[in-house]
Assembly symmetry: C3
Homo-oligomer: 315 residues x 3
């Protein structure tokens, strides 16, 4: 059995380049299943529990599709309200996990609190896949973003990758930057000063010898980029400053992109909608810049890889 | 592959008699699977997404049962609240559909807005089956109603079919009348004057040479009918006039039915409950008039047919 | 086909010792499937409907896991809000059941009203398994508790079993006491005077010759016990007296347990959390006293047995 068998996927912080490449290679193979609109029997008879204490369209349905394409079945809840897991008499996360551990062979957890996935993993026998915990980590998102760059550009080295937007509070960005820290691409970190990665992240980049720079204006740097990955302003993270930050928050138009390289690709973790409308203009959708819907497809492939690897049926 | 392969089912307006008959024949075969309480493997490995922006017991569970009886699996959400699809930062319907299109091989959508299914189909590669859009169309409902008449009466020609209630705002009635417009039965349209079909519908009936009449009192016409199909007053459609309309809204009692033909059958799309109680009295349930629960079973068969035909595995 | 084929499981009141033993034996075999983290094909092609008019983590997910481990599939709703089953225009329970009966081969119902499962069974062709109705019965819970004692102690006779807490309003306790009334163990019923079993229950125990005593203080009786089964105060049942009752409600600490027999086991139906915290202290979790998480695993096995027996595929 492979090195991921029985393991949790809580964070991308400790993944090595070699491990990430194994996940990416496995995902590429899984993508062939999706493209043939069929399914495998690798996880036939296995049960995935999707425990979403925060509601989600994308991550939950993507994991469910992944499990079904692997031949397995799914149970769970889509919001804390539809379980015993909310209210003043709500049971502890640990008790919920210990219970669900009896029902399922693998658990995907999304939770509003940082560290929740770690707490779950500490009591579960089944592998726990972190589907997002607070503003901390969202490893399957970071890995699918990494996959998208790799698939679309053919490499993860030698590129200039712009990470644009709320780097401070977006868990997917945290997961992505740790993935990319294992490769030899240059990172351009573009955000309002209040929304930069915290020093710990930058320390990791330095210690690993990753070239990076910070900027506040995407227009000033777009020319340099091979990849422009943009994310929405995190409302919870921004708190009272949300309204003010939103006004100057980066927005991507076709005019902006035309100032960049011809083969620039644009990614987004979606949704791209906020109170001001679409963060990436609709006019971009039909252009070759846009890769954010492919990203969703690759997401299923990456999650198939993660489920199969942690169950020990591949790898 | 058949003519429905890869097609959307958004409306019954453009279905021909021949196409409807193909769906009905396929549904009759599928019914045999349901009656044997077993399932097929026709859609093994395929994934259905049920996206219900309005909650539903009947339509959602019926489609899910249909998909499972075909060997496929299901993911989705049961209400807008359990997804990213509500609130001021909700993503556009188009973005949700483009995303789910990566997760599923076929999509059933219910949405409060007229035209939503059309918008979904415009961006999805997977076939979109309209599970009800605003007050517009609910084609699987219209087809299952059509199937019920055909199965119970053995024909769709030469009958006198009463369509009773809120014809203006009931999407199922819209879908049904367009189905029936392809056959040679006489339609008796019974509703308060405010709740009649709009002129466009009546124009279609005229242009296709369908004999029809309008009435306001079901008691005055019950004698003529072979089929009495009644539906509930649509609260959203009625708006401020709801309370007033409800008072005179048609209600079906056993006494009323006894004034009709001995082999009269009563159908309803359910639920039949409103603030005044049951629209069809409970005393009707155990009589041979009542076919509304069989209708639910036929609904699964019709939806199996629609799923299998649009996936191109039959037809 | 066995004696349970096509039968409803609404209550444990009329189960005989022989019937209970058949369920326990079947559950023991099913447990082997769970422990091997695989599944059977006994119910391949069959559909379970889980209709939860009250939300639940444990019972719903446990039944869903059971159905999936038997090879079947699941549809349903997790709360009344996500169906047509709530609000002033909600359809009757009977109509909902008659409808779902067309979609599924077996139905699990949880409902806030006592007698709801009986009403459902009266109109459904499919077997109805009561997943909890009001304060009345929760038979799969009572059976899994019975299973836990039997599995952990190797017998259901000759033991001294403490049933502690809200015996009046806890449906699982009602189901358990009727199971245990068929065996030869002594019952120690520990609760505040207001929360005792009603006389009808005690009359059953007397008529079946079951030795039992009542107590108010768990500390005074812990020495006698082989099994200590404790449950939470039922908030709905307690009504206005909830706050007052909670203050003196039994709470289980390690100190308390150390006063009992060395091989005493502690069970709980979970959740064990209320406004005062954990009803069983966390310090108990890692000790051999604690069996409440195993109980959850046995629950899946018991529900697999119930589903397979009532479908007539075993027994």
């Amino acid at each position: 059995m492979g090195r991921f068998a029985g393991k949790d996927i809580l964070s991308t912080e400790n993944l090595t380049r070699d491990e990430i490449e194994e996940i990416l290679e496995e995902a590429r193979w899984m993508l062939g299943v999706i493209e043939r609109r069929t399914s495998l029997s690798l996880l036939a008879g296995k049960v995935l529990a999707t425990l979403f204490f925060q509601s989600s369209t994308r991550t939950r349905l993507s994991f469910e599709s992944a499990m079904q394409r692997l031949g397995g079945s799914v149970l769970g809840f889509a919001s804390a309200e539809s379980s015993r897991a909310s209210g003043p008499r709500a049971e502890t996360l640990e008790d919920t996990i210990r219970t669900v551990d009896q029902y399922a062979d693998t658990i995907v957890l999304r939770h509003p609190e940082t560290g929740a996935a770690r707490r779950a993993a500490d009591v579960a026998e089944a592998p726990v896949l972190n589907g997002g915990d607070g503003t901390n980590q969202h490893p399957s998102q970071g890995l699918l973003d990494t996959y998208t760059v790799w698939h679309e550009k053919g490499t993860l080295d030698g590129l200039t990758i712009g990470m644009v937007g709320d780097l401070r509070s977006t868990r997917g960005m945290h997961s992505l930057v740790h993935c990319l820290s294992n490769f030899r691409s240059r990172l351009v970190l573009v955000s309002p000063p209040e929304l930069r990665f915290d020093d710990a992240v930058k320390q990791v980049l330095k210690s690993k010898g990753v070239e990076f720079s910070e900027a506040t204006d995407v227009e000033a740097v777009v020319k340099e980029l091979d990849v422009l990955y943009v994310t929405r302003l995190n409302k919870e993270g921004a708190g009272a400053t949300y309204e003010a930050l939103l006004k100057t928050y980066p927005r991507i138009t076709l005019d902006l992109l035309k100032k960049g390289k011809g083969n620039l690709i644009v990614m987004h973790d979606l949704p791209r909608t906020d109170e001001l409308g679409l963060q990436i203009a609709a006019e971009v959708d039909a252009t070759p810049y846009a890769r954010y819907f492919q990203e969703m497809k690759y997401g299923v492939a990456v999650r198939m890889a993660l489920l199969a690897l942690t169950q020990g049926v591949v790898g």
